[in-house]
């Protein structure tokens, strides 16, 4: 057998050159699978502008039709749950806030609620702290939904809405920066309350936001709702009914867009949500269009909640009274850019040895949490965000598991995509609003 059976060869001045071709495999395979060359496998991601972060989709296509879709996650796994086991309970806040980076305040609040339930101090959290939590969470829900609107618009070809969505979100991030010191990754909601009180100038800014936002929402609707391209790309696309949602564990706006008014703020209230007036928007189509309408309506409901929270914000402590849990000082940004309280430093260094010891023990060792386990679920912008926390009685979490709605909801992507067009994979995936930082943790 000579080499020419496999590849043609020719002599050149550089030596012998072979030209390798596919040989006769086309003919061999065509006998068993006549459409073998009509099905192609497309690897979409993990670096792809339309996959919302590092999500990888493997699509088997027949022409433009998706026959099989599989999603691959884990590219952003950072071991946050494992890391929590090596830090004390308060330090956990700084870790969990980095999971779902579009909804950091939900991660923190869920964690704080779980630790408080383990400590048995749920009822001792002050009214002001709970009101601030609701206020912050609802602002965060608006900012998260705005990013959803912005990125989904961009992915479906509506670039203007991307700019508008991020512009208004920036306004909320400025409010967050005034209150917590940071635009993202706040570590603001702590076990026992919140880290800092809300400054007065932030209240003014939130009031301004409340007057501005309804007009902006109207603008978004003028841009998108009647627009034929937007309706064509979203209506009857990536349909998921209630049965499929429940089987696949999908919660949040996707479930509500299919018609089930399941919102943990109403059905299993926490942080005093049962005392607020708001509606749970639903839709019955179960398509991308329905999810768009539900999310826009949720922004309006969140505005109502923010307004009510502002109105009932009465002066008072923002941390539990128990000095064994609450950190001793109200920190402020010092000239070095670090959190300090000069008053408190003067006291512990110059006047009270007991205060110094207490501060040192609480900050380095942390508080102990009685052994046991709890599960707390809250309604994040993406669905049920659950925290399963286990304590062994020590100063560190024994195990913390996050039931991340992004992770669970992504399982529904093949059900939405298979049988549809490849362009609708993008619309369907975007309508789930996955955040890979939360999904992979």
């Amino acid at each position: 057998m000579t080499a020419s059976n496999y590849a043609t060869e020719r002599e050149t001045t550089e030596g012998k050159v072979f030209t390798v071709t596919g040989g006769d495999w086309d003919e061999v395979v065509s006998g068993t699978d006549p459409i073998n060359d009509e099905r192609i496998v497309v690897n979409m991601g993990p670096q792809h502008p339309s996959t919302h972060g590092v999500l990888r989709l493997i699509l088997e296509l027949e022409g433009e039709t998706v026959r099989e879709a599989r999603s691959v996650v884990g590219y952003l796994h950072t071991g946050i749950e494992k890391n929590l086991e090596y830090r004390n309970w308060v330090q956990g806040s700084t870790f969990v806030t980095r999971m779902d980076y579009l909804a950091p305040l939900f991660n923190e609040t869920a964690y704080a609620l779980a630790v408080e339930k383990l400590l048995g101090i749920t009822d001792e959290v002050t009214e002001r702290a709970n009101t601030i939590r609701v206020l912050m969470m609802e602002l965060n829900r608006i900012s998260s939904h705005l990013v959803w609107l912005a990125t989904t618009g961009m992915e479906l070809g509506a670039i203007s809405i991307m700019l508008y969505g991020f512009r208004e979100r920036e306004y909320i991030l400025e409010i967050f920066e005034m209150i917590t010191g940071l635009r993202m990754n706040h570590a603001y909601v702590r076990p026992g309350g919140v880290a800092q009180d809300v400054p007065d100038e932030a209240i003014v800014k939130i009031r301004e936001f409340l007057t501005m936002m309804p007009k902006k929402l109207k603008e978004y609707e003028d841009l998108l709702s009647g627009q034929p391209i937007w309706t064509e790309r979203t209506q009857n696309v990536a349909v998921l009914d209630v049965t499929a949602c429940l089987a696949l564990g999908v919660t949040g706006p996707v479930l509500r867009s299919a018609g089930l008014a399941w919102d943990l703020r109403k059905t299993m209230p926490y942080c005093g949500y049962e005392t607020y007036e708001f509606d749970v928007p639903t839709h019955t189509d179960g398509d991308v269009w329905g999810r768009y309408l539900v999310r826009l309506a949720e922004i309006r409901e969140s505005l109502k909640l923010v307004e009510q929270a502002l109105d009932r914000l009465k002066p008072g402590p923002v941390m539990v009274a128990d000095k064994k849990i609450a950190w001793p000082a109200q920190l402020a940004i010092g000239v070095d850019g670090m959190g300090n309280s000069l008053e408190h430093v003067a006291k512990i260094m110059g006047q009270s040895m007991e205060s110094l010891i207490h501060h040192f023990k609480l900050v380095t060792e942390g508080f102990r949490v009685p052994p046991g386990q709890v599960y707390v679920g809250i309604e994040s912008p993406r669905g049920e965000l659950g925290v399963h926390a286990v304590s062994d009685g020590g100063t560190r979490p024994y195990r913390v598991h996050y039931r991340e709605p992004s992770f669970v909801n992504l399982q529904a992507l093949p059900a939405m995509a298979e049988g549809g067009l490849i362009a609708d994979v993008i619309a369907g995936g975007a309508s789930l609003d996955p955040v890979m930082g939360g999904c992979d943790r």
């Binding site: 996650v73 884990g74 890391n83 089987a247 564990g249 399963h388 062994d392 598991h401 992770f407």
Partner: protein, 245 residues
Amino acid sequence: MSAPNDRNDNGGVPVPVTPAGASSGAPAEHPPSSPAGRGMFGIHGTGDVSGFGGLVRQRKPVEETPRPYGGYFDEVRDALEEAYPAFGDAIEKVVVDRGELTLHVRPERIAEVCQVMRDDLALRFELCSSVSGVDYLGADERRLHVVYQLTSMTYRRRVRLEAAVSAEHPHLPSVTAVYPTADWQERETYDMFGIVFDGHPNLTRILMPDDWEGHPQRKDYPLGGVPVEYKGAEIPPPDRRRSYQ
């Protein structure tokens, strides 16, 4: 577990009576996440000269809660007992703690129990909110726990199912046939704890790379990390810093 005042071998000071708080430790299935006395300063034993050096936390087993449990917990138990003939065999114990109901289920029965929990009209736990694992290192036969959080949307109730397997034989049936949403969550539990869910359609790693060795969330799997130098001082990685008992 010996009495606290017998334990002087770790360098502690003998104490005449059991100090208050010595028996307030974690249940037997909650061993300490870090052995005491290990830390930055190389001290053996507790390094404690306060007189409490001999303090050993006693670890009580997780005990069955006596009835009535209160709330909807009695109804759930009664409904399950009525709908599921093998209740006595499958349910090891019922624990009510911090307003939450936990049913400890024999691992080989978990899929059956989930089926009844979902289908029975008086139970109706339609949504499997979460599946995850916990590693109780040192609990041998009951080392690896799988924890299922079920939610009934009809009755607005939550129940936790817990099944314990050993690290040597970490097998239990998959509940994916009952709750398809458990698919990825069981994969994550397999990935992180090495628990094998028999009957799962595609039990592969999900968060870690496919060729990864070991199961990172197990307690005997190191956290890893490198020491960091800051202004001349060397800070050890988090898992080698001083830890408190």
